[in-house]
Amino acid sequence: MSKRFEGLSREMIALRASREIKDDEYVNLGIGIPTLISNWIEGRDIMLQSEIGMLKTGPLAVGEDIDQDLINASCQPVTEPPGASYFDIFESFSMIRGGHIDVAVMGALQVNEKGDYAGWNNPVRGLGDLGSVGGSMDLCAGAKRLIITMEHTTVDSQPKILRELTYPATTRGKVKLIVTDLAVIEVNPEGLLLKEIYPGLTPEDIQSVTEAKLIIAPDLKEIEL
């Protein structure tokens, strides 16, 4: 398997994932594509929690609005909208682990058909057991819903949606939805349900770059942005 299809840009993956977040939800966005979701929810009633210790994290700061004491968990300067609050790290992880976060959106290196995912330790770096775990495992333990956003395949066109993980797991059985540049896939007890595909591609195309077996949804449609 070394096929590659053109699909959504990273920004458009984030836009599609933003549709999965409902108004009035408390949401934590991981580093990478998930952070781009913040560009698509401006004006909506969604509260972003940043594990650094901020609730209602605003859009990225530019120019004179940049404040070195005001960054998000990806170390980017952000803004402070009315209604924001700050707190220390144990309060932040009390919110996360304590089940108060509705949705966590994370990037992943690999996902499997049971809803396990790997994201914290890329063996390619050759650091053995060591990796930057950050707050990912706490979010997996506490968030009510876990969504993965990622490219469908690796840079060298290897599948990332697998039968079994080959990289160290971040969590097991928690992933509910996978949004990639090529498809939207729901993780069900029966397996992976292919719900949406990039315009112009067929289910066979998606299966050809996916190691795990896909179940085709009866109402399969093109990805809606």
Partner: protein
């Protein structure tokens, strides 16, 4: 009660080789850079630096000097590496970890936060659901074989598996605050608060560098983030500007 010290150098004068020091900061924000620079100047070695989320990824210049001077024996953190694998390969810290010259221990961030909080709150250990399903539930993540060999205990509560994690007490903590008074009351600013409070709780001796030294009472008592009981020494430092962002 007067906890004010005239300089960073004097505030850290009794720290010896082999000390365990908590270093707060979340990447670039809230890192006690002046105290770190005093530690570099002092040159003591064999240090264990207990971090929270990559303060030395944020303060990369300070880390480079600490590594170059061979001051670090062990680092504890949740996010110790540069995000970029290619930058990491060039990084002297990562190289020292690869060779085993620096021992590295990794915990999930929320577990680390609670380890410090517990140490300050008189709790010996706690059960957490974080890490279940990963190798975190099995063993300590480390490049040191004797640490790796320590198996973790798990237990079921409310039909969910939990992992036993231990409090992490340190000899010293360096903290960075926006305001402080001579009694040790501290106030942080925005997201620079992060690990500062829990680390102040966890240390036997907490040394606070404050950007603004104020008289007792000038911080509204309702807005004191760290009550002075957790702080033993205070120094006044300038507000530094630094690059935000990490490699």
């Amino acid at each position: 009660m007067d906890k004010l010290y005239p300089s960073a150098e004097e505030a850290i004068a009794d720290i010896e080789n082999g000390a365990v020091i908590a270093i707060p900061g979340f990447f670039a924000a809230g890192v006690p850079r002046i105290l770190l620079r005093a530690l570099i100047a002092k040159g003591i070695r064999n240090l264990t630096l207990a971090c929270g989320c990559g303060p030395l990824v944020g303060a990369a210049e300070e880390r480079e000097l600490l590594v170059k001077n061979k001051q670090i024996k062990k680092l504890i953190d949740s996010y110790p590496f540069f995000r970029s694998a290619s930058k990491g390969m060039q990084d002297p810290f990562e190289q020292a970890v690869r060779t085993g010259e620096i021992e590295l221990e990794i915990y999930p961030m929320g577990t680390l936060a609670e380890k410090y909080r517990a140490a300050g709150a008189g709790i010996a250990a706690f059960y957490t659901p974080t890490g279940v399903g990963s190798i975190v539930e099995e063993k300590i993540i480390s490049n040191n074989s004797s640490s790796q060999a320590i198996k973790k205990e798990t237990r079921i509560f409310n039909s969910k598996k939990h992992v036993l994690e231990y409090a992490l007490k340190t000899d010293f903590a360096f903290v960075h605050a926006y305001k402080g008074d001579r009694q040790g009351n501290l106030q942080y600013r925005k997201t620079a608060r992060n690990f500062n409070h829990v680390m102040a709780m966890a240390a036997k001796v907490t040394i606070a560098e404050v950007e603004n030294l104020v008289e007792p009472g000038e911080i509204d008592p309702d807005s004191v983030h760290t009550p002075g009981i957790y702080v033993q020494r205070v120094i006044k430092v300038p507000r530094l500007t630094y690059a935000i962002g990490i490699d």
